[in-house]
């Protein structure tokens, strides 16, 4: 493995992490969704370099394509509420915990084992459809229950929709106490993102 290849690898991982950071920092949901697509693209490239060509393609089409479309759809339905103020979890706590966990995990897992010689293996399609046939079958179950879940959560009769709208309209005049605090916090916080 040449230095050039290593540099490329580092660049791809860096790009992926950078996009991920931007996902969290993005103020608007739409921007976050697009940055997520960026993460997907970098991940796909990494997968491709690892020799996982088929999954790279799928990641590109599903991860960067389908999922982004889904998010955009959901955002358009639910509205792009910008919530710039972070949660009530103190940032130092979040940082500390994660850094600690990361250090411990890396301590246990680095250095990773050497790449062993490629075993003689069946082709991807064969591995998937025959070797892991059971996984695929259960995936069908998952998709079925996922679809039921999606439909069950979203499909509504007209009367229900009206009821929801009425309920919301009734709730609107008195905004939750939290909202006022939120805006005040936002002014104090002055964070551009």
């Amino acid at each position: 493995m040449g230095v050039k290849s290593l540099m490329l690898e580092i660049a791809l991982v860096f790009g992926m992490l950078l996009c991920a950071v931007m996902v969290i920092r993005a103020g608007r949901l739409l921007a976050a969704a697009l940055w997520l697509a960026g993460v997907s693209v970098f991940t796909a490239m990494l997968l491709y370099r690892l020799g996982a060509i088929e999954v790279a393609v799928i990641e590109l089409s599903v991860g960067a394509g389908l999922v982004t479309v889904l998010f955009v759809f959901a955002i358009s339905v639910a509205g792009d509420q910008g919530m710039k103020v972070p949660s009530s979890v103190p940032k130092p706590l979040a940082w500390g915990l994660l850094a600690f966990a990361l250090v411990l995990l890396l301590y246990l897992t680095l250095p990773p084992p050497e790449v062993s010689a490629m075993r003689a293996e069946a082709a991807f399609t064969e591995t998937l459809w025959q070797g892991r046939a059971l996984d695929v079958l259960v995936q069908i179950v998952m998709i079925f229950s996922g679809v039921l879940g999606f439909v069950g959560l979203l499909s509504e009769s007209k009367s229900e929709q009206m009821a929801a709208v009425v309920a919301l309209a009734e709730a609107e005049p008195e905004p939750p106490a939290e909202a006022a605090v939120t805006e005040a916090d936002a002014l104090l916080e002055q964070e551009p993102v």
Binding site: S87, S88, V89, A94, L97, F100, L104
Partner: protein, 580 residues
């Protein structure tokens, strides 16, 4: 025969319980009758069992594995206590026919009472420690449910839960003891522990011994676990009689008596038993002296008398303790039911609002005085013989400091008993409405108990022979005639003298006011339950505060929940890295 009888003595009450529960919506008169019939049948079986005692398991049910063999062993000690439970229990049931007339939820009442009686019999008859523990817990459950019977009254509910939690807490001691026995001896039969105690490592044996002591103390309302008993006074009065005289509290004394041969050699154990008994007897008497609630006085007096029994076991007078248990069961049942008749008539438990009731209720006054006579230990009621026997053994075998205190408590007993009788039946004339003396069913129960109080000591010899079979070498005290030994021992005169002093102190109480004032701090401490009630409440408050604080960690916010996950990961990683 022994097998059939030992099963029947449990199954009669239990079957009755189920039948009464199923018939709960029928005519209440049927319920009273059904319950009384089943209780009486159980009493007959229990008395019959006394003639078929034996040390071999009469009934065996093999479960295997962690559960071992369930056996029933109707030996002398077990059969005797079963008989006490069913006989006094059935009298309480019969008494209830009048006392509970017109109450709601009679089905539930009789169901629990009968279940209670059956469980108590199972407890004393079981030859397997696990089975004993099961019955032990069942009596706790039944007592809880009965104490909280008037469950719209928060005081009754709180009293019930307190009784349950404290006795269950003690039960943990019993359970650990049983578990350790099992692990060390490979068997959880009672005889295995009795026979194998010598071969156990000393530290394990003392763990078992003190575990059992905690359990016994909690069940028998000994210091520092006695706080539940006064709260248990919220129960209907027949239930109080049942708990105090026939069932619950005897279980602790039974446990110690049963395993005394195994534990006597454990260093410090007998001293601990003596100390617990002595402290309880003293504190119970002082609290009885300063309380104005009739049932509470009786409750404290129960605690105090149980202290005598513990003390007796501690000094090795196992037979004396059981003899006193028998006497106490009879006269305390009499006193409770008598008090029940009074409370039923007057409608209050406060003795300051009574007085002069004797003229209105001569029958109740008569039997009540017989009960008090025995409680105080005046000749020749049953309490006299057993209490003298305990004090003699204490003088002969126990430490002097404990004997002196126990002797003084005999005087205190006389003092509070006379105070109680005076405040209820004598003193100022009763000016309230016309009262009825006890009705028929009540009279029946009371009369039988009064006769028992006066005569049961005549059975001392056969009783001793009955227990000798199961208590083996530890019945050495009073060779020859028990009664003769009491009469001829100089300790008897000493005790009678102290009792007379107690009586005198009440008679000349007016002139003793100065002393009483100087001792006021003791009275105040006694009224405050010597701080144990406070301690008890603190434990509850701290637990609840902790719970409330912990509840705030359930923020309901997704972000904080995620903190839990990441935090959990960090903890597990750390534990694994450090722990290897």
């Amino acid at each position: 025969m022994a097998g059939a009888l030992s099963l029947l003595v449990i199954l009669f009450p239990w079957t009755g319980a189920v039948i009464v529960a199923l018939a709960a919506r029928r005519n209440p008169r049927w319920l009273h009758l059904l319950a009384a019939v089943f209780a009486a049948a159980a009493a007959a079986a229990g008395l019959g069992l006394l003639f078929y005692t034996g040390d071999a398991p009469a009934v065996t049910l093999s479960l295997g594995g962690a559960f071992g063999d369930f056996t029933l062993v109707p030996d002398g000690l077990g059969a005797f206590l079963a008989a006490v439970a069913v006989v006094i229990g059935s009298l309480a049931v019969i008494f209830s026919a009048d006392y509970m007339r017109g109450e709601a939820q009679l089905g539930r009442y009789y169901f629990l009472v009968l279940l209670f009686i059956g469980s108590m019999c199972g407890l004393v008859l079981s030859g397997s420690l696990l089975l004993m523990f099961i019955f032990w817990e069942m009596t706790a459950l039944c007592s809880y449910a009965l104490i909280s019977f008037y469950n719209d009254d928060p005081k009754a509910v709180a009293g019930g839960i307190k009784a349950l939690v404290i006795t269950q807490f003690g039960g943990v001691g019993l359970m650990i003891g049983v578990l350790v026995t099992r692990a060390a001896l490979g068997s959880d039969s009672v005889s295995a522990l009795l026979n194998g105690a010598d071969s156990l490592p000393p530290e394990l044996l003392s763990l078992i011994a003190f575990g059992f002591l905690i359990a016994a103390a909690a069940k028998s309302a000994q210091v520092p676990f006695h706080t539940w008993l006064p709260g248990a006074m919220e129960a209907p009065t027949p239930v109080s009689a049942l708990i105090h005289a026939a069932t619950m509290v005897n279980a602790g004394v039974y446990l110690l008596a049963r395993f005394y041969p195994a534990f006597a050699g454990v260093p410090g154990w007998t001293t601990a038993v003596v100390a617990v008994g002595m402290l309880t007897a003293l504190m119970g008497a002082l609290m009885a002296l300063t309380s104005d609630d009739l049932k509470r006085v009786l409750a404290y007096s129960t605690i105090s008398q149980l202290g005598y029994m513990f003390y007796a076991i501690g000094v090795g007078a196992v037979f004396a303790s059981q003899f006193h248990l028998l006497s106490h069961a009879v006269f305390k049942a009499l006193l409770f039911l008598g008090a029940g008749a009074v409370i039923h008539a007057v409608g209050t438990r406060d003795m300051r609002q009574m007085g002069g009731l004797g003229s209105q209720m001569p029958f109740v006054r008569g039997v009540f005085i017989i009960g008090v006579w025995a409680l105080v230990g005046l000749p020749f009621a049953n309490g006299f013989w057993s209490k003298e026997l305990i004090l003699e053994a204490g003088l002969a075998d126990g430490p002097a400091w404990a004997y002196i205190v126990m002797l003084a408590v005999a005087g205190l007993t006389a003092l509070y008993s006379f105070r109680m009788v005076w405040m209820v039946f004598f003193g100022k004339a009763w000016t309230g409405r016309r009262l009825h003396d006890a009705p028929a069913a009540m009279r029946g129960s009371l009369g039988l108990l009064a006769v028992g109080t006066l005569t049961i000591w005549l059975l001392a010899e056969p009783f001793k022979n009955l227990l000798a079979s199961s208590l083996l070498r530890h019945i050495g005290e009073a060779e020859g005639s028990v009664l003769l030994a009491v009469l001829t021992n100089p300790a008897t005169l000493l005790a009678l003298g102290v009792i007379a002093a107690g009586l005198a102190a009440w008679w000349w109480r007016e002139s003793l006011t100065g002393v009483a004032n100087r001792l006021r701090f003791i009275a105040q401490a006694a009224q405050a339950d010597f701080g144990f009630e406070w301690l008890n409440r603190q434990v509850v408050i701290v637990t609840h505060r902790t719970a409330m604080t912990l509840r705030t960690t359930q923020t309901g916010q997704l972000n904080w929940n995620a903190v839990g996950i990441v935090g959990g990961l960090v903890i597990v990683l750390l534990v694994l890295i450090v722990g290897g």
